[in-house]
Amino acid sequence: MGNLTNETILIVDLASGETYKEDIDEEFYESHIGGVRINLALFEKYQEEDPIILGTGLLTGTLVPGSALGIVTAKSPQTGKVCHAPICIYGGMELKYAGFDFVVIKGISPNPVYLWLHDEVADINDAVDLMGKDSWATTDELRKSLGEDIIQVLNIGPAGERQSDLAQIILNYWATGDRWGFGKLLGQKNVKAIALRGMGIFDLEDEEGFVDACADLFKAFKDEPSLSGKKGIIDIAAAMGEDITDWLSPIIHRHSADYNCPYPINTFVKYNEDPTILKETDVAETGFYLTDIYGLLEFKKMGLSAEDSCRMLEACAREGINAVAAADLLRKTGKTALNDLKQAVSGLTGPIESPEDSVFSPWSPKQPLFVDFGLPDDGSRNSEWWVRRQAVAYLFGIHPIFILMAPMLTEEKLINAVNLGTGLNITADTVDEAIKKVCG
C-alpha cells in the first residue's frame, strides 16, 4: 500500500461476473487529488456501461478530523445528471480499509448478487436468499453469514429491488445522504448489497508532521468556543432555526459520531425501551439512529410526534427509500395515523421533487453550522459557499456536514495534510481545477 492510499481501483463487471484491479499512479493522484474528482473520471471512462462508482478521499480513514467520507457517484434516475452521495458513519472508512480506494460497478448481473469486499479480495456472491428482505434483515443476515458484526453493509431494501425512483442506498440499518435514487440503480444491476471489511494500513510520508498537523486541527476544534457543549441532531437543527429540543429530548438515548468526527452528528432515539437505560437489555431493536436531519424535520412538519416521526424514518430505512421524498408523497395522501402511514411506505410511488441544481446531495444543511465562517448574516453567499465546502469535503474525504462546522479545516490545511501524508505536491490551483471539473 502507498501513502494514505491502496493505489487500487477495483473493477466489478457484473455481466461477466469477473473482477479485476487497476493501479493508480502518483501522477494521477497529483492531477486529480482523489475522492469525487477520481470518481467522476472513472464514471466518464466507463459511462457507456452505466457505472456506479464508489470512492474515498486521500484523507478518508485518517487522523484528520472528520475523515469519514466515502462517495457514491452515478447518473441519478431522478435528475438525469451525474451526482454524488455521501456514505458516512463507518462506511467510507471501511471501504478504504477493505483495500479499495475506488470501485467501478458496471454492467448488469444476470442473477441477484452481493459484493463482499474484504482485505483486498473482491467476491461476487449469490444473493437469491437475500431478495425480498428489508435493509435490516439484509444487514443482519450478511453479518451473520460473513461472521462479523461490524461489517459495513451498503444495501437496498425492497424499494430498490422493485426499482422505485425513491430507492435509497442504505448503510447497515440507517439512512444515507443518497437523495438521487441510487438504490434504484443497484436494483437495476441486480446488486442487493455491498459488504465491506478490512484491515488496511496506510503509510505516511512525513509521519510526525502529519500527526502533529492532525493534532493541531483537533485542538482547534476543541478550543472553538462556538462549538462548546454542542452535540447531536438537536443542536444542528437549532443552528438551522428549528427548535426540536422539547419535542425530541424525551426519546433521546445517546449521541454518537461518524468515523473520526469530533462532533457527534447522529443521535440515537429509543422507543422500544426506556431511553435512559444504559445497560444492554434483551430488546434486540431498541429504536433508530437519526442520520437524516431533513427527513426528521419533514415528518415533524406533518404534525407527527417525535416517536412517530422516528418510527416513520425506521420504516423508510427498512424499505430503503429516501425519507424526504417519502414524507412529501405521504403528506399528499392525507393520512395521519402512524399505522396507515407505515403501511403506505411499501407502495409509495409518484412524482418526486428533484433536489436543487447541485451535484452534491442536499442532505447537508445549506448553511454554516454554529460558526459564521465570515459570511454575511443575510445568507446571500451561503449557496456559493456551501457548494465550495461540499466540493472540498468530497474531494478530500471529509464528512460533508462536519465541514460546515469546522472552520479550522481550511483548504490550505487540508492540502498541507495531504502533502505531508503522501509526499505529493498538491497545490491550491490543482484543487481549483478539480472543483471546477466536478461542479461543471
Binding site: P65, Y90, Y97, E148, A257, D258, P264, E285
Partner: protein
C-alpha cells in the same frame, strides 16, 4: 499514572484507536491499537471502550467500568470485535517517549483522560 475512561462521554468516533495504532505502527491503522471501540451492538446503540494495560483489561461499558486482571480474563468475554483480538495486542505503554498518550490527545470529548 493510568489512562482513565468516562464511557458516557465516548461518542464512538474511534480517534483513540487510530491514534494508538499510529503509535505502534507509524501508520494509519487501528489493527494493533491497545484500545478498541466496542461497537458490535449497533441496533441497540450499545458501545464502549476496551483498553489493554500491562496488568488489566479495562472494559468501559456505558453502565460502568469493569477491570479484569490479565491472565484472569473471563472466557468468552465480549472483548473481541476485531479480527485481531485485544488480548493478542500489545498493552498500552502510555505512548512511551511521546508527549502524552496519543489517545488522550485525540479524544475530542474528554472520555479519555489522565
Amino acid at each position: 499514572m493510568d489512562i482513565k475512561i468516562d464511557p458516557i462521554k465516548c461518542i464512538a468516533c474511534c480517534a483513540c484507536e487510530l491514534a494508538c495504532g499510529y503509535h505502534w505502527d507509524d501508520a494509519m491503522s487501528p489493527i494493533t491499537s491497545s484500545i478498541i471501540v466496542y461497537r458490535t451492538r449497533e441496533k441497540k446503540n450499545y458501545f464502549g471502550l476496551m483498553l489493554k494495560t500491562e496488568e488489566n483489561l479495562v472494559l468501559a461499558r456505558p453502565e460502568g467500568i469493569e477491570i479484569q486482571r490479565i491472565g484472569e480474563v473471563q472466557e468468552g468475554v465480549e472483548a473481541d470485535p476485531s479480527a485481531k483480538p485485544i488480548m493478542l495486542r500489545d498493552a498500552c505503554d502510555m505512548c512511551d517517549g511521546v508527549d502524552g498518550p496519543l489517545c488522550v490527545r485525540f479524544c475530542p470529548t474528554g472520555a479519555l483522560y489522565l
